[in-house]
């Protein structure tokens, strides 16, 4: 019983995501499937970022670099070398993880805003580099031939299959996030977040722990990147490394509550839902960016702990289930 109870925190996120995945399956509505895909993608990315941001307390403004880099590497093997999407995703994940490992060794020494700035620099440098890198098509990027989809039963099948893979990736991200949170490793990370110097004194090997947290948070984005570009049919440098998406991820994690498993899920859901609504609504479409900005400002100013943090603070009984 006790063993089960510690996993209670995972239940709510899993239920929310499952409900979302089931919704288009039950109604059979392809349009909702696409909407849910966008949301799931956001959840998977935000949950991954949360391992670094929420648990370790390092603010990365360039997390999307792993999505772009992993995606590029994976798509290269799928499209140019004829590998299957499964192998492609594996390679994409590994490539993103390795990049994070190398970067982590270097830039995780920086703290606070310096780290944030460095991540912006890395994202922009990578984008500019890929734009000049002929093997990946340079500025033209890569376009998938529809014959690639034929192996999966045609474009329609490939797109619906992408949805299920995305679902699996989202679950993986959630479970990883949950397990890290409970583990001794995760405790070490949270100690670093609270006070890095004190954590080191208490025996946490901060440089290693931070690097592995960075690697863990990079793998899923790399795989998501491969999947998204595969589904999207093409990739170009400015599509792969959009700086504003990195910031949107931060917003999602903030919105829901950093350092919790459920927070990024709700944050991603609310943010993408809101954007999706604003973009397609006649009234807000012209100033949707401003509306999002005002909402973000209100949250940052008045409920900085995010929805989950606020709930946990206000309703102590919820602390056990809202993790």
């Amino acid at each position: 019983m006790k063993n089960l109870r510690i996993h209670l925190g995972l239940l709510a996120p899993l239920l929310v995501v499952t409900a979302m995945i089931l919704w288009p399956i039950i109604t059979g509505n392809v349009s909702s499937r696409e909407i849910v895909f966008t949301i799931l993608k956001a959840i998977a990315l935000a949950s991954s970022l949360n391992i670094l941001l929420g648990y370790t307390g390092y603010v990365s403004f360039g997390h999307i670099v792993f999505y772009g880099f992993g995606g590029y590497v994976g798509l290269y093997f799928v499209n140019e070398q004829g590998w299957s999407i499964w192998l492609g995703m594996l390679v994409g994940g590994i490539a993103a993880g390795m990049l994070a490992f190398l970067l982590g060794k270097a830039i995780l020494r920086l703290r606070g805003a310096y780290f944030a700035l460095a991540t912006i620099g890395i994202n922009e440098a990578m984008k500019a580099f890929i734009n000049n890198f002929e093997l990946f098509g340079g500025p033209i990027g890569m376009t998938i031939n529809f014959s690639v989809y034929r192996d999966y039963g045609g474009a329609a099948q490939a797109l619906s299959m992408s949805f299920y893979i995305m679902a699996v990736l989202t679950f993986t991200a959630l479970i990883a996030s949950h397990l890290v949170r409970l583990s001794k490793f995760g405790l070490g990370l949270q100690a670093i977040r609270e006070n890095e110097d004190a954590a080191e004194v208490m025996g946490v090997v901060a440089p290693n722990a931070k690097t592995w947290a960075y690697v863990l948070s990079a793998i899923i984005p790399g795989m998501v990147g491969v999947l998204f570009f595969f589904k999207n049919g093409n990739v170009e440098p400015h599509v792969a490394f959009p700086l504003h998406s990195s910031i949107e991820l931060l917003v999602m994690v903030m919105l829901g509550g950093q350092g919790t498993v459920l927070g990024p899920v709700l944050g991603a859901l609310a943010y993408q839902g809101m954007r999706g609504y604003l973009v397609t609504s006649n009234f807000f479409k012209d100033i949707q960016l401003s509306v999002s900005g005002v909402l973000l400002l209100l949250i940052v100013l008045f409920i900085p702990a995010g929805a989950i943090g606020w709930l946990r603070h206000r309703v102590p009984v919820l602390r056990r289930v809202l993790a």
């Binding site: 460095a118 500019a128 903030m254 012209d286 400002l297 100013l301």
Partner: protein, 288 residues
């Protein structure tokens, strides 16, 4: 030989432009130095400065250099306003909060700006002549802009070192708690600093508008450049920012002499990351 030639022709331009880049970065780095806030609304403010020149010169027919005064005052007021609305509450919160607060200001300005001004380019067809210097052409607008940038830097320096509010700003930069104990009204000083930083951004935007076409999104590129410059010169060091701006301007001028122009951003951002790693206090910063 051809490369040397190319280098010599591009160098003066790079230097002149560098002063204006430096002025923009100075706004960013001043705010960082005083309150440890990275102002992510920096870019849109630069863009607003550009539109300031457009409306003052094209619509009202006033000389853009006289218009600078209006833009500076508006920038100052706007900065103080942004400070009290968005920054003041999170000034002591973790970095993430102030980053996101200023980013939300960024979103609001871009959103309203896009709705009102669209994202198509505006062009200020303004010319104060040009002259040849050896094998290169020096554009009058850039020369004047560089001179104005230097004047503003000098003004800022005098303000910080010779006036009472300037000394207060430096005191708050050094140690806010101690400054408060000495009876310095820290909130007002912080608001003033934010206003000054915003003013510098708006003025640099107004200058840039006299030689490049622009739109409401153009500020983003200069914001990124300001980060690079700020780090080169040492965050929090206004004079360092001017030198950092010069370095960046020169780099942009000379890199195309040796490789394809599309490599410029790779080198710029690569350098940025390397400097952060090797000397996070900047090239001129003292060892902490």
């Amino acid at each position: 030989m051809q490369q040397i030639n190319l280098l010599l022709t591009s160098l003066p331009d790079g230097i002149l432009l560098g002063f204006v880049y430096g002025l923009a970065a100075m706004g960013l780095t001043l705010i960082w130095g005083v309150m440890n806030v990275i102002n992510l609304s920096h870019g849109p403010i630069i863009a607003l400065g550009m539109f300031g020149t457009f409306f003052i010169f094209i619509r009202m027919g006033i000389n853009p250099y006289i218009g600078l005064l209006f833009i500076a005052i508006l920038g100052l007021i706007m900065g103080v306003f942004i400070y009290f609305v968005a920054v003041h509450r999170v000034i002591n919160a973790p970095h993430l909060s102030s980053l996101l607060a200023t980013f939300s200001v960024n979103m609001i300005i871009i959103g309203l700006g896009t709705a009102a001004l669209t994202t198509s380019p505006y062009n200020v067809d303004f010319n104060v002549g040009s002259f040849r210097l050896g094998s290169t052409t020096i554009l009058g607008t850039r020369l004047v802009a560089a001179v104005i940038a230097i004047l503003f830097t000098g003004g800022l320096y005098i303000f910080l070192y010779r006036t009472r509010p300037g000394k207060f700003i430096r005191a708050v930069t050094n140690n806010r708690a101690a400054a408060e104990l000495m009876g310095i009204p820290s909130t007002r000083i912080l608001a003033l600093s934010f206003g000054l930083g915003t003013m510098l951004a708006a003025v640099s935007g107004a200058l840039i508008a006299t030689f490049f076409p622009f739109n409401i999104l153009s500020g983003g590129g200069y914001e990124l450049k300001s980060f690079v410059i700020g780090v080169l010169g040492g965050l929090g060091n206004p004079i360092g920012a001017l030198v950092g701006g010069l370095i960046l301007g020169v780099l942009e001028g000379i890199i195309p002499a040796f490789m394809e122009t599309s490599w410029v951003p790779v080198i710029e951002f690569g350098l940025f990351v390397v400097i952060l790693l090797v000397r996070p206090q900047g090239i001129f910063g003292a060892k902490k």
